[in-house]
Symmetry: C2
Subunit: 225 residues, 2 copies
Amino acid sequence: MTQAGTAEVPKVTLYSYFRSSCAWRVRLGLLLKGMSRIPYEYKAINILKGEQFTDEFTKLNPLQLVPVLEIDDVKLVDSIAILQYLEERFPDKRPLLPKDLVQRAHIHQVVFLIASNIQPLQNTQILPVIEAKLGKEERLKWAQYSIAKGFSALERILEKTAGKYCFGDMVTLADVVLSPQLANAIRFQLDMAPYPTIRQVGQALNELPEVKASAPANQPDAPNL
Amino acid sequence: MTQAGTAEVPKVTLYSYFRSSCAWRVRLGLLLKGMSRIPYEYKAINILKGEQFTDEFTKLNPLQLVPVLEIDDVKLVDSIAILQYLEERFPDKRPLLPKDLVQRAHIHQVVFLIASNIQPLQNTQILPVIEAKLGKEERLKWAQYSIAKGFSALERILEKTAGKYCFGDMVTLADVVLSPQLANAIRFQLDMAPYPTIRQVGQALNELPEVKASAPANQPDAPNL
């Protein structure tokens, strides 16, 4: 049985694609949990070339998605399941959740608002389907609509909870999930004017060295532009 | 601060819609966690009539979705955040997660496979959009395709982990989320032949009194047919 707080330094391998927002969540979580001093191995899976569909990768993750994390002999898929595992296994390394149960639930709400209500509607699985059925212009509109709908609700929540970050001045799992989603919003040219709180939190997050180091442009498989 | 294992009996109100699979997750979770002896108050929100869009309800949940749970003076939205809160607050009342961290992560993977990769693509927010853009026949095809894609991956996972339920013979959060998703699959007339393990687990789950009591047909707002 793996116990919380196991002391030895684990061997970590991350299967990632530089632009995947779900892989970014895990890259950011690893850095925030202090893994920057444990150089993890980075294995690039090129989603646009379909490398996630090989038999070898499908054995790793039947859902054919990045990220996959190997930590010692444990293999984990799904970004949120991975983040929760890291939090439970290394609770003392920069906690990303407070101890109060209600505060934890409020943070989880924001995590799932993004992970279940925004991201799945504008990811690399769904957008090609939308484009094939409705055309290229509808693809962008669809992505913008999906993010705007979720951000409207998120803005109303964060108005009440935000300090420097989503919940006061502590970096939490909500911020880990928000940062990549914000980058998607900007990539899809969403008008951010209606979301001043989200913008402000996003600016603070962008100044964190862990956010910079985990950003798509700074990954080994990012193209040299 | 709310502590785990608080002894007093809480006052519980659930805002629900009988057919909502996310509300069903919480109804089932409440019953499994022993709330059957604490008669919770059921407030019906008719999604088809748009009762989730009123100002009063939007104050409760800016995302304009059921379920919302009030437990004493705490208000929680998002089915998975609610289930995690109940698990953390009442850890000794029929645990729905084991103590081993890796096993917990594997269960979370199945929870999020359904909650982030299947349900959002076939829920009452997205299907009307698909129907408006592509027609009624595409609506059914879309729902079937979304569930089938997720179930193919889920079948490969459960082949290795299932006993009577998703993970051995313990009822876990994975089962709490699977049960309503299976009912959706049947409602959308999905051919279940390719998923023998999912079917078998589903049959075992359907025999649980808590699954029966939380099913849509047995809710106060279900129509008399």
